[in-house]
Amino acid sequence: MSEMFSVKKYLRDLKLPFCPGCGAFTVMNAFLRAVHELGYGNLEKFVFCSGIGCSSWIPSPYFLADSIHTLHGRSIPVATGVKLMRPDLNVVVFGGDGDIVGIGLSHFIHAARRNLDVLVIMVNNMVYGMTGGQVAPTTPFKAKTTTTPYGSFEHPLDAVKLAVAAGANYAVRWTTAHPNELKEAIKKALGLKGFRFIEAVSQCPTAFGRRVGFKTAGEMVKWFRENSITLEEAVRLSEEDLKTKIVVGEFVHRQRPTLIETIYAIVKEAQEGG
């Protein structure tokens, strides 16, 4: 870590597409800092898969690395094919809440169930940002969006809890108000096996923040900071009180056998027997 951190060496020389104040910058930074601190001088050992949406642009094509920018919601299946054929590579999926737990929900659950060895980083901005601010599976109850002008009448999905229930080896949630915790979680996750899920609650000032009353991106980050509560503290609150809070921290860390271990053991056996 003697070398100074600079995002430049990991990026293509292209202008980033995010709006000013977007939380995607924070997540990108946290990820690149994490790989830097882990001692990766470049991203050669990584493959990035992403879907459609603003946060899917984090790796593609901006990372100077192999990146597969897939169809909306299909980054996890593509990552499955990549990882199964190249278990030696670090396969990292970036996506938004709409991509990962909206259209791609079933892939998410099944990858966690299989304990596929990939790291999924979901940037949760609680809205469909790229298409202009429509309701998402993570939109808070009663929040106004372009397709819920009277307020969302649906209850939001807790992706981290779902990952835990489905069988992920590692699942955490932080927000863009916790860049350091986020970075540390990424570092830890990159050292683990199996299905690893990181949710980064993030601000979308353009398509969400201003509609729900935040004048600036900074205001929203401040709100994240003030309304986040760690898992340890959360146990003391009632379910009602928790509804307005963002519970952050490490929800699970375990060592179930991973898909790669299991499937390659079978291939080895079949080859020897065959």
Partner: protein, 378 residues
């Protein structure tokens, strides 16, 4: 046992397809159960690990084609199998594979549709879906076997074409060909032509242009390849505003197939130079052609046929050539006219085109039915 030893086998179409895939170098399969394609998946689930490959049942067809695309970019020859409704679910992914020039093989074992229709019965209703299933302007390569031996031969060819043209290739089979048992001759592996994708040299960067079929790196080889289904330049960088970039890309993708119709479009032709009546047939319904033609000839009627082993790109020249001698061309199909219009278009009024269509219950067009039509038309 690694590969099927050279020799003569009595196989089902499904086995022939699976074994051919192994010989062709397929090392990854992802699929979702659907009748009547499941037998191929089950055979591959057993056989792929024996040759060091991976077979996985995904949560749906959308995930299956996604995993196949990922595996292909990881360097593997990869395939999936499905039937009509599952094929519909895969279409978005097939378009992505076309746009990103991802070699892969999709086997569609046709059954009676639309919708769940008659799930266990044979039909040929996906001909147009195989050509135009996804959105946008694209050109598919679609092969159509009519026997178990051809399931073997065309499966290997499908992989070869996919690798050579860097594109998804569809093997459009059907319930009858996949489930029947026939003699199959497996040649020694060394005698088979097996093609592999062209790999880039160190330092190369233009994996999506410059050449008609650019070289394809795999991920993890140090090429920093950016793959996207969005319009992209030759370096894979998204470029979604410029009409010229889009035109150049999509015209090349279509051109790399349409400019090679003569090489890609394989047919079996018989007596097309002097016949009075022509038949254009493909897949399971083409099995009626041989007996019907023999019978017709025994009665002194000169019949010729073109059997499409490749449906798309459509072997237009050969079909047009048939019309130079044949006054009438009969097109038997187990659908309500899907190739009929294509034949009529190719023939351009030079011959009268006559359909025979039969759908439902998996009932094949019999040699008698075809013969009767021939007799009616002379």
């Amino acid at each position: 046992m690694r590969f099927a030893k050279p020799g003569v086998y009595f196989w089902q179409g499904s086995e022939a397809c699976a074994e051919a895939a192994l010989v062709a170098g397929c090392r990854f399969f992802a699929g979702y159960p659907i009748t009547p394609a499941t037998d191929i998946a089950e055979h591959l689930a057993k056989r792929l690990p024996q040759v060091g490959g991976i077979a996985i049942q995904m949560e749906d067809e959308i995930a299956s084609i996604g995993a196949v695309i990922g595996a292909s970019w990881a360097g593997a020859k990869a395939m999936t199998t499905t039937s009509g409704p599952g094929f519909s679910l895969m279409q978005e992914g097939i378009g992505y594979a076309f746009m990103t020039e991802t070699p892969c093989v999709i086997v569609d074992v046709q059954r009676v549709g639309p919708s769940t229709g008659q799930a266990t019965k044979c039909a040929q209703g996906d001909v147009m879906q195989s050509r135009w299933g996804t959105h946008g302007d694209y050109s598919a390569i679609v092969l159509s076997p009519n026997s178990v031996q051809e399931m073997f031969n065309l499966t290997t060819r499908a992989f070869n074409l996919a690798e050579k043209y860097r594109t998804p290739v569809i093997l459009l089979s059907d319930e009858v060909v996949v489930h029947m048992r026939e003699k199959v001759v497996v040649p020694p592996v060394e005698k088979l032509e097996i093609l592999n994708r062209r790999k880039p040299k160190p330092g190369e960067k233009a994996f999506f242009g410059h050449e008609e079929v650019p070289p394809m790196p795999s991920v993890g080889e140090g090429f920093n390849v950016a793959v996207t289904g969005s319009t992209h330049d030759e370096f894979g960088i998204r470029y979604t505003a410029d009409p010229v970039v889009h035109r150049r890309l999509v015209e090349r993708l279509n051109g790399k197939i349409q400019n090679h119709v003569d090489e890609i479009a394989e047919v079996e032709a018989y007596n097309i130079e002097n016949c009075k009546i022509g038949v254009v047939a493909y897949g399971c319904s083409s099995r009626a052609v041989y007996d019907a033609v023999d019978e017709a000839e025994a009665r002194g009627i000169s019949v010729g046929y073109v059997r499409l082993k490749t449906i798309w790109p459509f072997p237009e020249k050969v079909v047009r050539g048939l019309a130079e001698t044949a006054e009438k061309i009969i097109v038997p199909e187990m659908n309500l006219r899907q190739i009929f219009y294509e034949v009529a278009r190719a023939v351009g009024g030079e011959a009268k085109v006559i359909p025979i269509n039969k759908i439902g219950g998996g009932e094949l067009i019999t040699p008698e039915e075809l013969l009767n039509k021939i007799l009616e038309e002379v």
